[in-house]
């Protein structure tokens, strides 16, 4: 009797799982569009450099600033990637350096250099959907969300945009249930991403406010993320963006954490 009940339960839950899998659309066309957008957003050129500045405004209108230089090098397009972030403002994080070796099939390697202690600290792989240096951007917004983690569905297409809905494969790993992204056809860059929570509320919006063509690569020069529940926002601007500088691979190492490579950080004004 008991066994029968358990069997029934198992069958029911298997059926339920099968049903939700059926309901979960994963459209190859939509996936290929998202992959093109990933390529345009995070892998333009073989390497790149830019100066970035964030203004973080909390729900009470209090403002903070972060300013840093990013060096990037792709190991492989849409694959592993080297990133270094050199902070220059505010003064309590000046000369702090953050290094990521991004992996697509395993956890990223991350290091932080703390100049006051001359300490190269390795950081354990953590939740990627937590604040990047106190801003409303997440680590994942900066380094890119792996397209293998979501199902995609093309909701709409017009002359200007693709509108795609993404549902995470593993709901427990993220704070959203789905997001809707508008990808601009001319640049293949996401223009707007809107995230919805378990109550189906729109609670977070990321927008590209200014896109320019630099060295043949459409480039986001101004973006904004808004916390629609608590009322804060972070604006990010990029300047002095350059691609294909020929950064040497050895640049992405402990050496550059302890001794910033001034030759590659110098902005030609």
């Amino acid at each position: 009797m008991k066994l029968k009940k358990i069997t029934q339960c198992v069958i029911l839950s298997v059926l339920a799982a099968a049903q939700s899998a059926v309901a979960q659309v994963d459209d190859e066309h939509a996936r290929s569009i998202v992959q093109q957008a990933e390529m345009a957003s995070y892998y333009a050129g073989n390497d790149g450099r830019s100066l970035a500045r964030m203004i973080i405004t909390d729900g009470n209108g209090q403002k903070q600033i972060r300013q840093f230089t990013i060096l990037r090098q792709d190991v492989e397009d849409r694959g592993d990637q080297n990133l270094m972030v050199f902070f220059s403002r505010p003064s309590d994080v000046r000369d702090t350096v953050f290094r990521v070796l991004k992996h697509t099939t395993q956890d990223d390697d991350r290091w932080l250099y703390l100049p006051g202690l001359d300490l190269v600290k390795r950081i354990s792989a953590g939740d990627k959907r937590t604040s990047f240096v106190g801003s409303h951007f997440f680590y994942e917004d900066v380094s890119g969300r792996n397209t293998e983690e979501d199902y995609f569905e093309l909701l709409e297409e017009n002359d200007e945009f693709y509108t795609i809905k993404a549902v995470p494969k593993n709901l427990s790993s993220v704070e959203f249930t789905h997001y809707i992204v508008n990808i601009e056809k001319s640049s293949m860059l996401p223009r707007k991403i809107e995230f919805y929570d378990a109550k189906d509320r729109l609670y977070r919006r990321v927008e590209s406010l200014k896109i320019e063509n630099i060295d043949g690569h459409p480039t986001v020069l101004h973006s904004r993320v808004e916390d629609l529940l608590n009322g804060g926002a972070t604006e990010m601007q990029f300047r002095f963006v350059e691609y294909d500088l020929g950064l040497p691979e050895t640049l992405f190492s402990e050496r550059s954490l302890r001794t910033p490579p001034r030759r590659w950080l110098k902005i030609k004004g």
Partner: protein, 438 residues
């Protein structure tokens, strides 16, 4: 008198900060009015800006007031455990390809009732091809331990560590030359310290501790004979498949006085050390392993009762994010005294000699709020062999880009008065630190 100075310090800090806050507020107003114009105009990249041959970075730094109080009465010290009013000035200067780094502290030390000033860093950096050279006063750190040092024989400031100064001050500065050579085969750091730099070890001006001479807790201001000789350290390092490997060599002296001359003066005895470390990902976390063999050159046989014996040190650590924004790390550490029988046989007082195997467990718990402003931390040392422990709880609130407030404690527990942490029992303290970054 110190109390008055503290009040003046706080008032001064506040005034300074208010003035800066005012200009900041004006900046903010401008932001609201024409957000873009402020953004577009001032990127102020003074550090790496332009192709000019000479660049000076603007001054930055902080002012800080730190006050700490003992949790219990001490027969050796007053209630105030620390009282600092500090001004930090930092700047950088680029002259062609030479970079000059300067960081100086001026502070009033209320415990010593004295004004102090020192350069935390004052060095020249020069890089060419695969070589980096750093010459001058600098902070040096290597190794994989968290508050545990097996192969890092650069000076530590234990007085600051136990009293509530920022973690940064645990590492004291050295006058040194550091040459780093990088290659695809292996990377090498050579450090030469022309004149031995000791730790700022626990002394009677700040702390009471177990004095083996009197066999009791006291607070003598021990002065030791510092050798005039140099120190030399090498690190070989390389990363293979995300695993960081390190090999270490040191030749110099024990960093705290560890012996007596025949005339009864405290001395630093000679030390040579060899070690190895590895660090990398394991499972969902990070693992690190480090060992070192400390060769006590002046007491190789271990039978000189006045000089500490050779040691073998071993550390294994693991760190993992337990849940969102909550990270835990733990370490197991062993310090094995070699030639232990000789030590006990020749000792004047075997009951107070350290255990043959001193063991330590540490646990660090760190939590940060969603907006990264509030950080809670607890670091605990527990020694099963010594039956003593040391607790470092702290709360840190980063109010904005300028203000930072920290509150914390240093708590020591143990049953014997001669063990490492237990001896500091009378120095337990709580502290409050208010910093303004500019």
């Amino acid at each position: 008198m110190p109390r008055i100075t503290l009040v003046i310090g706080i008032a001064g800090t506040l005034f300074f900060n208010m003035a800066a806050q005012f200009s900041y507020a004006q900046e903010n107003t401008a932001d609201n009015e024409s957000f873009d114009s402020v953004w577009d105009d001032d990127w102020g990249e003074d550090t790496y800006n332009s192709t000019k041959n000479i660049n000076v970075a603007s001054f930055s730094g902080f002012t800080e007031t730190l006050y700490g109080s003992r949790l219990s009465n001490s027969e050796f010290h007053k209630k105030t455990s620390i009282e600092d009013i500090r001004l930090r000035l930092e700047t950088k200067l680029d002259i062609y390809s030479v970079n000059i780094v300067s960081k100086g502290d001026i502070y009033y030390d209320g415990v010593l009732d004295d004004w102090r000033g020192n350069f935390r860093e004052l060095r020249l950096d020069y890089s060419w091809k695969q070589t980096d050279l750093k010459v001058g006063r600098q902070v040096l750190t290597w190794g994989t331990g968290d508050f545990l040092f097996l192969n890092d024989f650069f000076p530590k400031d234990w007085q600051s560590f136990f009293s509530g100064r920022d973690d940064e001050y645990l590492k004291a500065s050295s006058n040194a030359v550091k040459l780093s050579l990088y290659s695809s085969i292996i990377n090498t750091d050579f450090v030469w310290v022309p004149k031995f730099e000791p730790d700022n070890y626990v002394r009677g001006d700040y702390y009471s501790f177990f004095n083996p001479l009197s066999n009791s807790i006291s607070a003598p201001n021990l002065e030791a004979n510092e050798p005039d000789n140099s120190e030399f350290a090498i690190r070989l390092f390389k990363t293979i498949n995300s695993y960081e490997l390190g090999g270490y060599f040191y030749r110099g002296y024990f960093k705290s006085p560890n012996g007596f001359s025949e005339r009864g003066e405290l001395e630093f005895s000679r030390l040579q050390s060899l070690g190895f470390s590895v660090r990398g990902q394991a499972g969902d976390g990070l693992i690190n392993l480090e060992t070192s063999y400390l060769n006590s050159l002046d007491d190789k046989e271990g039978n000189d009762p006045l000089i500490s014996n050779s040691q073998f040190r071993f550390l294994i650590g693991y760190e993992q994010e337990l849940r969102e924004r909550l990270t835990a790390s733990t370490q197991i550490y062993l310090e094995r005294t070699l030639k232990y029988n000789q030590l006990v046989e020749s000792s004047f007082n075997p009951t107070i000699e350290p255990n043959e195997n001193r063991t330590l467990l540490t646990l660090r718990l760190g939590w940060r709020s969603r907006n990264d402003k509030l950080r809670l931390s607890l670091f605990t040392f527990y020694s099963p062999s010594d039956s003593d422990s040391y607790w470092r709880p702290s709360v840190n609130y980063r109010v904005d880009d300028h203000w930072n407030v920290s509150f914390g404690g240093n708590v020591f527990e143990g049953k014997d008065e001669n063990t490492f942490f237990s001896q500091l029992d009378d120095n337990e303290n709580l502290f409050l630190r208010v910093r303004y970054n500019y």
